[in-house]
Each structure stands twice: as C-alpha cells, then as structure tokens.
Subunit: 455 residues, 2 copies
C-alpha cells in the first residue's frame, strides 16, 4: 500500500507496480478511455488513474462506467509520468471496491452552500475547500506547539471543569451528573472560560508556560466570530513586562504564519482559487511589517480626529476616554489608519479585567493590551498581571467580584509572586485571519453555537 | 535579562556581567560568605549565586541573611566557572527583591505528602519533583504532536460538548446554562467521553487523523488510575486493518518515549533520585523489545494454565471465554508471563464496543485490541471499525443502543466508508507509565476527581 502523496512525485516508484487506496473524486470517460481522480487525504491534489477499455475485462470497464463518486477503492497499476504536467499517474490494471455508496448520502453535483455543509459534517469534509482548511488548521496547531517547545515553555493542561468563571468575562456552562446531582461535593462545576489564572500559578515556578485547550461561553451570540466552544492559547511569561509580552506575541504570530505558509502552499492556492481572493500575498505582507504600538489615549485621539474630519462614520460616535472599542473602531485603526497590525495598550481600568496591573496615574489605566488585525479586530488580548496583593484585593472590590471565590488566586501574591505578563489568542480567530474564511463555524470541525448541537 | 539555562553552561557569558531573575530555592550562609540557588524554571538545576560579606553593603548582606525562601529576585553579577562541578555560577554584585513572601504561604522545611501537595497546587509546582513531571509531560505532549505532524496526519479538534455518549462507555456529565435552561434547543449537551466517532467521520476524507483533547467520566471511582477529566489521544487510520494499527501504536510509543528520554535526561534523574526507583533503564528496555501479539483465546489459555499450575492467585478465578480481564489478569500477562508489552486481540463481542468489526467466526469475536504494559495494565485500546451498515445496525441492536442517537454515525457507512482502524491512548496513563508515579492525580496539573474541585 502506498500513500498518494508518495507516488505522485517520487521518482523511485516510476514504471513500477503500485497499490493505492482512496475515494473517487472525479471521473471522465470516453468510449475507449477513462480517467479517475482518487484522493486518500495524503495530499490535496489526489492522483489521476487512467483506464483503457482494451486493457480491462468488459465487466470491470463497465463497473467503472457506473461507479458512484466517493466510492472507496483499491487501485493497482503501473506508475507512469504524465509529460504534460510532470506528475505521475497510474495506468490501471485492477481495482477493488472497498464499500458501496448510497447516492443519497454523498455530495451531489450541484454546489452546496456553506450553511448546508455545516449541518452535514461528513459531506463538508469531502470538499476540497474543507480539506485545505483542515490541513492549514493542523499545521497552525502543530507549529504553535513546536514554537513553544523551541522557546522552552512548559505546557500546562488547564482544567476544563473549574470552580469559578475566572474573570467574570461571560456566561458559563454549569455541569451536573446525568441524574442532576452535583459530582463535586463542595461546589458546582462550570466549564472553563480561560486557563489564565491556572497558568499564572504554574508560571510562578516554571517561568514560561502556556495552555492550549477548549474554552466555553454560554452566551446567546449568533455572530460570525463567536462560538460556544473554541480553542484558546494562553502563554504566561514570568519576569516579562507587558511590552516584552507584546513583542513576544508578534514573534509568535510571524513564526507560525510563515511556517504554515511554507508548508501549505498548495492548500492556500486552493483557497485562493475557490474563494477568489488574495491570501498568500496578504500574509506575506503581514510577515514583513512591524506591528504598531500605541496607547489607548492615542487611539482615542486618532478615532476622534477621523470622525471630526469625516473620514469615517461610526455607529458609536461618542469617542472619549472610557469607551470600550467596538469592532468598527478596531478595524478602522488597523485597516484604514495604520494599514498594519496595531497593539493598543494602557486601557482604562473600568473597561478591563480585575487582574491587570494598575499604572501609577490619575486616570486609573491598566497595563492591558489588545492586538488588532485586519478582517477580525481583536486577535490577542493580554496584560501585565497585578502582583501586589493589596492592589489586587482593591481591584476585586471595585469590580464587585467576591474575593472568596478567588482566594487561591489572591494568595499566589503571598507565595512569591514575581511580575508576570501573558495573553490569550483565540485559535479560531487566527484561523479566520489566515484562511480569510468569514464564519468561525467554517474553521471548526464540529461547531457549537446557540441552539445547534449536531453530531 | 538572561535565562538561567543559557548562562549555566554557555561559555560566551563567562566573566561577563549577567542579570538573571528567579526564586530563591536554597540558601547556605557562613559568616563571610553565602550561597543561594535560584531557579527560573528554564532548567531543573537552577544556578548558584555566591555572595561575600566584604563585597556587599552591610544592609544588603543582612537582607540576604534573613530573606525568605521562594522570594523572587533579580540578580546582577559576574558569571564565573565553578571548577569543582564545571558549571557556571554568579558572583553577586547587586540584587532586587521583586515581591515579598509570606512564610505561611510557601513550602515549609518539613517534607509534605503528595496528598497535601495535591490540594495546594501553587505549592506543589514549587517542588523539584513536580517541575520534573511537568517538563516530561510537556515533552511527551509536544513529541506526540510532532510525531503525527511528521506522519502526515490531520489534527481534528473533537468537540467537548456532544449530543451523545459515544459508546455508552460510562456515565457522562450533563451541561446546562447557569440558569438551568438548556443552551442547545434540540438536545441536552453532555461532555465528551471520546472523540473517536467524530474522528472517524473526518478520516473518511482525510485518511489519517488524530484527536487530542480532554475527555470526561462522571463515575464515582476513586482509584489511583482514574480521573473525571483526562486527555485522550485518538488516531484513526483509514485503509489500515487492526494489525497495521497495532504496529503503528508500537511505533508511536517508541518514538515519543525515546525522544522524551533524550530531552529530559536530567528530569528523569531527578525522578529516580526522589522516588528511589529505576526508570531510565526500564524505559530503555521498553524501547528495545518487540511487543507481543496474542489472541484473546490464547490469553485465556495462559491465564487458565497459570492458575492451575498455582503460579498465580487471581481474585477472579473463573477464567473462560467471555471474561472481561481485570487489571490482575492484564498485569500477570505483561509483567509475569511475557515480561514485555503485549497486544491482546480478537475479543468476544459481548465485552467490547458496538463499533468493532465482527470476525466471521462462530464465537462472535471482534477485531478489538488492547495493549498491556507493566505497572498499568491497559495503555491503549483500539479496533478495526465495522464498516458494513447492516452489521453495525445489528450490533447496536444487540447492545440495546438506540440507533436514533447515532444515525449520523451509522449513515457514514452509506457515504463511502472505507475500512478503518484506530485506538485511544489515555495521555495520563502514558505519563504514569513513563514517570512511574503511582497516582494519576500526580501527573495532572489540576486533577478532577469525585467530590474534589479545587482551583
């Protein structure tokens, strides 16, 4: 048995007998000769199989005339070079059908909408588009983990079941045993909204750690950028201040995007041809440019000026200190004004989380930062952490958060807490940024959104 | 700022001024000279800091006399070579305390039990033992992902929230919104017990895929080998029969264990010295030996003979076809009889899952397999999948499983399902096997077990 990617370009199998397995993706037949394309997932192109009437039994030739698309087959034949495209193809000598196909359960000839495909995961994954998306997702995932391994980070498996909602950042899912009784005696469990607090506690001995795991929001938001279940990457770097963390985030994104571009050239070409947009050149530009860094106050001035000079028309026009930027403001800054990725830092305390380090200024700003990129808005959100026990306790009070629930987190500040910074990256947002797909559901194998639970 | 691992062995910093950050792990002081060991997580050893009374201000020297262990500090000084151990150390010139430490919130001098440390995650991770465990866990994790990347697998993020319990394999957790209403209109959600069924559907286009994500059991089992939340790795290989899948599992384990041994030599030595057991030589032996493969029926004969010849005394003595092996039987086979890892295959249908391929024999055996290893029992469980629609439907009936819930999975068999095999590996069981830790709770950063939900 040979994988198709091996025999498609490898010279060593030329003019030899090979045996490949795959699904029939395409068929073209004339009276005397036929062509199949079969794929086994090992590459995006598949391989061409040529069969001739005079070289097959009548029975076998007719079987191929009538065979359903997506039938899994075993193909035996001689590997030859097709001189027109310089790729190898197989002169069919024999084949076996591995399972039958019911025409009602495969992709039809008409093109299906993305919505239809979402509800039919087994059909969706048979399209070339989603095969390309899954290859890119795999590569981004592996390259992120490989990056953190090379940077000498520890991986901390943050728990999915937690006893608190971490940052009061959103509605949570509650978990029970199937008999509706709680499984944990002391407290009810909820599904994690972030692994940050757990990562911090480990970073206070291991130095540099990251979590990478599913996180959850029980919010009823049906937008193209939100899902109830999504993967979050959260690096935490002790001894880093927030500027160092921003630089590290830039380095991380550039390394993984560059490697994914290199490894998935064919898949990006497939995306470009199906979606009819430019992706490769845009990502190459992204790799070349230095990210901007501006303070929140500077961002306010830019947005205010843009509005006053009628360069833009925001739905939210009340641009002043304290405004929590919407996507329209974020995208203006990165897409129109700077035309490159922008970090915003030093936000007002009142619009950010309790755990961010308070600056010593009269405006009560905190050392939080957001990375804005085109097409998305916020891709990364991070901060330097508050390491002063009393200040952190005060921040919890100001946010009306019960400090009892976070006692263990507060007490970290008494057990040798060194200054630390970190950030969160929504992995599916990175997928949207890289693939230019518009809906987060289309970069997730089995998306979970309000009211929908298939498979 | 320099990481400790860099300056400890790198010649290029010798006799230069360096600045490291870390926690004070150890202190020894005489009248004129003192020694600190500080660690920053970048290596397991830390680095030695030497300070001399006549080279520091009186105030600074006295501060170091009284400083609490685990205080985070910034250290400046000259890097010199210690000729006794050939490691670099720092001649202290100046230091800064980064945060204060409350003695009630740090590890004390007396040795804590593993049980105590489990309930105090922030203390546990400050021990050298757990630092070593986390490094090994990180390396195993990265090496697994790197292995599947090199083997050209696709990564499929299996969903955590699912609509069914996959295999009826155990009790599930149910999820609700915090207001006790269901989030998904149509069905209640449960936490995944396995990503296999989802992986299969993607493998039917991508060929070779794997999932690697948390899975859950709401069972009230308080053993040293069970947790309510654990990470499961599940490769699925279309076009593989079960023997090929077994060989692949052997290859995978050997590659990742070999690489982890190479990269974590120091951490394994720390484990050996703390636990006072042999680990490295045992793992090296594991790498050398070929795994055995025997059928379930052969295993029954071996166990029966052992019992009859009084070589062993099992709690369960009724050894006959149909017995679901207990850990005592599994460990006898691998530890005593074969003294190496053993695959058992061709189990009776009635003790295995509905989705396994039925052999054409009168005993109704299925192409399932388990890998047994010493110290654990079952490390891997897998099978060739049933690809025949009618047979699968029949198997569901025989197991009294409502096929309505699994309609999408059944229907895969109509959409071009090629023969496929795969297996599941409990990642924490692999951690137990590699580290020889006895309790699964001690290889998980934040363990979840019945009645316990801390952090």
């Amino acid at each position: 048995m040979n994988e198709i990617r091996e025999v498609l370009i490898n010279e060593k199998y030329l003019n030899k007998n090979v045996n490949v397995f795959g699904w029939i993706k395409y068929r073209r037949i004339s009276k005397e000769i036929g062509f199949l394309t079969i794929t086994d997932g090992s590459n995006i192109e598949g391989i061409q199989i040529v069969f001739k009437k005079n070289l097959l039994s009548k029975e076998k030739f007719e079987k191929l005339l009538n065979i359903n698309l997506f039938t899994p087959v075993s193909i035996k034949g001689k590997l030859i070079k097709n001189l027109r495209n310089n790729l190898n193809e197989i002169n069919l000598e024999d084949f076996t059908v591995l399972n039958n196909v019911d025409n009602d359960f495969i992709l039809g000839k008409k093109e299906h909408s993305l919505e239809y495909l979402r509800e039919n995961a087994h059909l969706r994954i048979k399209t070339t588009l989603f095969q390309a998306i899954m290859k890119i997702r795999t590569t981004l995932y592996s390259e992120l983990i490989s990056f953190f391994e090379k940077e000498n980070f520890y991986y901390v498996a943050a728990p999915i079941i937690t006893s608190n909602d971490a940052e009061g950042a959103g509605e949570t899912f509650k978990i029970l045993k199937n008999n509706d009784k709680p499984f944990f005696n002391n407290v009810g469990g909820v599904l994690s909204v972030s692994g940050q607090l757990h990562a911090e506690s480990y970073a206070q001995s291991l130095g540099k750690v990251y979590t990478f795991a599913p996180t959850f929001r029980a919010e009823n938001s049906n937008t193209t950028k939100h899902a109830a279940e999504f993967w979050m990457l959260e690096p935490e770097m002790t001894f880093y201040d927030y500027f160092k963390a921003m630089d590290f985030g830039e380095k991380m994104l550039k390394v993984v995007v560059r490697k994914t571009l290199e490894k998935c050239k064919n898949e990006f070409k497939v995306l470009e041809s199906i979606l009819k947009i430019k992706i490769i050149s845009e990502l190459e530009l992204f790799l070349k440019e230095d990210f901007m860094k501006i303070s929140y106050k500077e961002a306010i001035i830019i947005l205010k000026n843009a509005l006053e000079e009628n360069k833009v028309n925001f739905d939210e026009k009340n641009i002043k200190f304290g405004l929590d930027f919407g996507t329209e403001h974020e995208r203006y800054l990165t897409e129109k004004h700077f035309k490159k990725p922008v970090y915003i830092y030093d936000f007002p305390f009142k619009i950010k989380s309790f755990y961010m380090f308070k600056n010593n200024d009269t405006d009560n700003t905190v050392r939080g930062f957001d990375l804005l990129v085109s097409g998305i808005g916020e891709l990364i959100g991070g901060s330097q952490r508050e390491y002063r026990y009393e200040t952190l306790l005060q921040s919890l009070k100001e946010k009306n958060i019960n400090s009892k629930d976070l006692e263990w987190y507060l007490n970290l500040r008494k057990s040798g807490y060194a200054p630390s910074s970190g950030f969160g990256l929504g992995f599916e947002r990175l997928m949207i940024f890289v693939t230019k797909m518009e809906n987060i559901r289309d970069v997730i194998p089995f998306p979970r959104t309000p009211g929908k639970l298939l498979f």
